[in-house]
């Protein structure tokens, strides 16, 4: 697996470069918004990738709560962390796109607000994992993750069921998209999914190593403690 990592990294780099070229050069210019619409090729795939990672976090948290499996706990933590990275991209690129198109950076529209709440839920999850020293932290975090995941379908379907400032979905929501734009969108999503997989792989290995080192340090500290003071 270690040998595959650089190969996968190289392929991801090539795919991301190709996706960038498609987004900036090949994709047709949208008639109403002009070139600024190309933010779409980074904004939407980042949102889809974040949703996917939060879903992985949800499944891993359920598995952890049922089986107390440590691998599931690591998967949940890593998925939440990388999900927050992608959700941050969504929350940053969205206002940059909104400013020239809507004339405002932000509005307390349902979808935007729910996306911000989603980000805050998973940041809270990561803070809990980082700063709580209780032995029950993984269980509490898993419960928070299961409850937090309820916000994902709310974010996704908010534009279907409520009138919002945010545009309708481009796929499956009655909206239409030029096939060339759809092609570029899907290539960008594939590229960002590969990047997320690469980050996941690195972060998973890091977390496993970190836990091994912490266990060894704890064992050493126990062995070094004089008998009388135990």
């Amino acid at each position: 697996m270690k040998r595959l990592f650089p190969v996968f990294g190289l392929l991801t780099g090539v795919l991301l470069s190709y996706a960038l070229y498609l987004a900036l050069v090949v994709a047709p210019t949208e008639q109403t918004m002009g070139d600024v619409q190309r933010i779409f090729y980074y904004h939407v795939p980042s949102a889809w990738t974040a949703f996917l990672l939060f879903f992985i976090n949800f499944v891993a948290s359920v598995v952890y709560l049922i089986r107390r499996n440590m691998k599931a706990d690591v998967v949940a933590l890593v998925a939440a962390e990388i999900g927050v990275v992608f959700c941050t991209v969504v929350l940053v690129t969205g206002p940059i796109w909104a400013r020239p198109v809507w004339g405002i950076w932000w509005t307390w529209d349902l979808r935007l607000t729910l996306t911000l709440v989603l980000w805050l839920i998973y940041v809270s999850y990561l803070m809990l994992r980082r700063f709580s020293s209780s032995g029950q932290t993984p269980q509490i975090a898993a419960v928070l993750a299961v409850l937090g995941a309820l916000d994902v379908p709310l974010v996704y379907f908010s534009i279907w069921f409520f009138r919002t400032q945010h545009p309708q979905p481009v796929i499956g929501g009655g909206g239409s998209i030029d096939p060339r734009m759809l092609h570029v969108l899907l290539i960008n999503w594939a590229a960002f999914s590969c990047l997320a997989a690469l980050m996941f792989w690195s972060r998973y290995r890091l977390e496993v190593l970190k836990r091994e080192v912490e266990d060894t340090q704890a064992l050493e500290a126990l062995l070094e403690t004089p008998r009388g003071s135990r």
């Binding site: 960038l20 980074y42 990275v85 991209v89 940053v92 980050m199 690195s202 970190k210 050493e220």
Partner: protein, 40 residues
Amino acid sequence: MTYLYAAYFATWAIHIGYAIYLIGQYSRLRDEMKDLQSRK
């Protein structure tokens, strides 16, 4: 075009920032592992 480049730049800044954070964590962990091995 400024907004477009700003959005793309921000995206890569976030991803590169996270990659730098991971590299920092790896190097810190490597030091701790060396320290543990030297104490054996």
